[in-house]
Symmetry: D3
Subunit: 213 residues, 6 copies
Amino acid sequence: MGIHHYFKSLSDLETLVRCPGRFKYHEHNVASHSFKVTKISQFLGTVEEQNGQEVDWKALYEKSLNHDYAELFTGDIKTPVKYASAELRELFSQVEDQMVKKFIDTEIPPRFQDVYRERFKEGKDASLEGQILSVADKIDLLYESFGEIQKGNPDPLFMEIYEGALSTIMKFRELECVQYFLDYILPDMLSEKFIPHSELKERTERLIQSADE
Amino acid sequence: MGIHHYFKSLSDLETLVRCPGRFKYHEHNVASHSFKVTKISQFLGTVEEQNGQEVDWKALYEKSLNHDYAELFTGDIKTPVKYASAELRELFSQVEDQMVKKFIDTEIPPRFQDVYRERFKEGKDASLEGQILSVADKIDLLYESFGEIQKGNPDPLFMEIYEGALSTIMKFRELECVQYFLDYILPDMLSEKFIPHSELKERTERLIQSADE
Amino acid sequence: MGIHHYFKSLSDLETLVRCPGRFKYHEHNVASHSFKVTKISQFLGTVEEQNGQEVDWKALYEKSLNHDYAELFTGDIKTPVKYASAELRELFSQVEDQMVKKFIDTEIPPRFQDVYRERFKEGKDASLEGQILSVADKIDLLYESFGEIQKGNPDPLFMEIYEGALSTIMKFRELECVQYFLDYILPDMLSEKFIPHSELKERTERLIQSADE
Amino acid sequence: MGIHHYFKSLSDLETLVRCPGRFKYHEHNVASHSFKVTKISQFLGTVEEQNGQEVDWKALYEKSLNHDYAELFTGDIKTPVKYASAELRELFSQVEDQMVKKFIDTEIPPRFQDVYRERFKEGKDASLEGQILSVADKIDLLYESFGEIQKGNPDPLFMEIYEGALSTIMKFRELECVQYFLDYILPDMLSEKFIPHSELKERTERLIQSADE
Amino acid sequence: MGIHHYFKSLSDLETLVRCPGRFKYHEHNVASHSFKVTKISQFLGTVEEQNGQEVDWKALYEKSLNHDYAELFTGDIKTPVKYASAELRELFSQVEDQMVKKFIDTEIPPRFQDVYRERFKEGKDASLEGQILSVADKIDLLYESFGEIQKGNPDPLFMEIYEGALSTIMKFRELECVQYFLDYILPDMLSEKFIPHSELKERTERLIQSADE
Amino acid sequence: MGIHHYFKSLSDLETLVRCPGRFKYHEHNVASHSFKVTKISQFLGTVEEQNGQEVDWKALYEKSLNHDYAELFTGDIKTPVKYASAELRELFSQVEDQMVKKFIDTEIPPRFQDVYRERFKEGKDASLEGQILSVADKIDLLYESFGEIQKGNPDPLFMEIYEGALSTIMKFRELECVQYFLDYILPDMLSEKFIPHSELKERTERLIQSADE
């Protein structure tokens, strides 16, 4: 028992690969994902605050940092399995709760247990911070799948993930920060162009000529 | 729909890492594991046959090759989750069956569906071949965990896996092939010695001296 | 001497990378390849059996599982070297045989030596099972090279491998299973389309609009 | 210009390997490190709060999340270079500031620039939160180097890093959270034992015997 | 102190990844880069020699082999940092010199120190060999960035690197070997074509038909 | 045909892994190996020169840089295969020569063919430079195998490689540079000590106490 095991477990999140069992050009892990979601939440919270909303920053950061910690105990359960039936989903959710509870009981010293019980609660609730987390989690997933599509991954799964993530984001389109994302960030992402291989020749010739002048 | 998707899915088994979320010196994947289990089953079956048992080789090979194919649909669900309750386990087993069923219905052409329904059945039954598969699966797991312990992996998980695998093998100790494993293979594995770093100096000096003579 | 060394050697097949010395997006190893070839053989055998042929399943599985085991002793010798002259090829084949023989003599206990001598024989003979193995081996190679071409590998070698594999498959086009491959599987493989990057924008807009309705 | 580039840059932090140019069993990247430091800061802050200190959680999270972001612009400059002279250090620090400033001016839209200028300030100041960050950063470094030493990395550099990190932590030993670390966490880390290879034989025999009883 | 540490340090150059902090399909390291630069210098020197220039081969090889060795001490400092100001660049250059000097003083035995001081001098001077090294270094960088563009890397950085490398090469266009590169090698590089995925179908059909004839 | 293909082939040497088919903690490739051998040759040549020998530096560098280039054509042929019989060895050697010849004829423009024919000749001849190359090649192999032994690789192959490399070096012990290696470098390599895990506790306590004083 002890905080040492908790600190050590953070390294396991670095080893937990996202979207396992599929070829990916660029692999991501749960620790890095959690970092990026927290940074995205930070930005989204800033948009809300500038729009006059009161943001509970402490809650927002805690929710974002911890939102995937339970994957340490349950492993990667594919979404279709998790959602195969309402009954199974409910059971899985109970098991997850029990595992987190057991972890806190055995690893976290008593004086910190209440604090960590609070921190490991499901973060995606109806509060503003819970909604921001839901959006930030999907924005990072959107970037991950966009990265594979852009690099030429032929697996249609990544287009499905892209569309699924965007659909979830759209459910929160009442939020000012989602509007900002749709109005400014997504268009920039989609208008990214990279120099096609076919332009290389022309560019090279232009550069050589201008050097000769 | 089509066999093309089935053939393509075999590559996904190559990408599915075993024991995810933990640091390992040497990673293994489900395709390689299935190959090794089938080769180990082949040997165990040979021992049984020499001992007078009748081995249904076709069944043994089919069971071994397919025993982890369903992980493609369900992902890696950690054992403690799977076995958290009899109810969850039962439900999970139903979901797995439905997913395999759905895969066969949508991807395998009708004329082959009966054959593949048979092939994708749970292989670890009470038949001699089912028992051999249970043992072969754990022997490969034993080798995987032994490899980590031998290379110096400080994670105690691998000792737990080693002991768990051996315990399951012991449940089949009535089988002649398990006796062979315990009498001849395991002792060889345990008596493996490697030259400690500390002997390097002495060996080097001996070699230099003998070259000078 | 002992089966332990034989079991351990299976892990070395996991470390033996196919097509070494070339940049690949997705690396494959000999153990995974052997697994996939065996699964493909299984399907091809099923087609033959449905077509009224008698399939010796035990032989088919043994041939498929073991067909590349000798690479453990010889390493990866590039095809142009192997086939540089009839004389070299013959000599090389003798060396390979001697190495397998020596392995069996030193590692396999006497009571199993006859069985393993049989298993390690060249599998690609004129029998139906030998022909199926020849086809299955090339189908997996076709998938490996197709995967590189599809992901955008600019090395022309993979097109050469693709065409070489297909040419060999065509030599067996009298087989019903090759007809099935040409009629149903290859067309599916070639008609695979993936969403081009350029379609992303349109799809995204459609999704956003439909969410707004 | 735009938040899209900022979000995209977070992926580059995933690609930035820590302690480059040295063999490591387990590589870590700047994104994962930032996640772990933030989680460690969270715990240390909790200790301080329980001890009656007032913790500015928003500041603590911001400092921790952003503390290594500037490495994106400057790359990994080895410590001995950075600290080669007071003059060079001062100049480097100015260049870093200018690069962050330029990034904010060109990528962050004007309405968010003040907020991000604040967020990208040097976090390791004399405030309680700044001190906690200094400690948390070194605790993660301690774990990284401990991991290499424990796995058997023969490079003496990791012992130097371990000792350097611990020395820095000791400078903050007036903090209650450092006392907690020294009293409870560090001893647990050091008393970690893993089953030596040499014990395997005995354990295996015990397990086999108990199964037979 | 001793040559052993010098020999060992060569392995660290194998671990030092070029262009860190960016996604790359194909990573390169400083040791491999140094090898390729030396081989390219060898060719360029041959062109010069055939053109009547006298090439100091010993100097050319020494310059090429050692040109990035100092990165061992300084790490990868991003170019914009290095060149942020004339003052910083000068200071940085002094630090690098001091580090190399210190390395020679502490690791190289006195009888070899003069030789190694000479070898570790900045190689890109105004001599013919220094100019050839400048060109060879950029040709390898051109190939590295071309490789990423050709494989479909969407990061615009690689186009910038490609153009930057070509611009530097153009500065040496008075050299016969640069003329050779521009006249014969670069056009071959740019005219490389790879079979597009879209041609696969047609080629496959042609191959199948010709086999049937 | 063209130098472009020659330059491009250098990247394939980066992808050619040494000692394939075995688990290694630290993989090395042929390009990096060639770099290290050339640097080691440089040092050995310096020792010879200081000892009054005349060193043909151009020849020494050329031999070292090119000594493994032919592996590009032949792949990795395991030593026991290569040396299985004098006849096979002779045939392999002929094939290798023909392949290099063919490469030069088709890829190297006529005006450079004589130069490259000379460069691609077997370098390990009886000349001083040929002997230095033989030694340098084995010193790098010694370091590679030492690295695996030191990191705890349990595969006895690496001890065999270590002893084989040392035996070959001993055959050249008449060379002054081999004497230097045996007298100064090898002892340093063998006396390398790394802090055992077990000392960590004591060192940590000492450091904490001294900080408290």
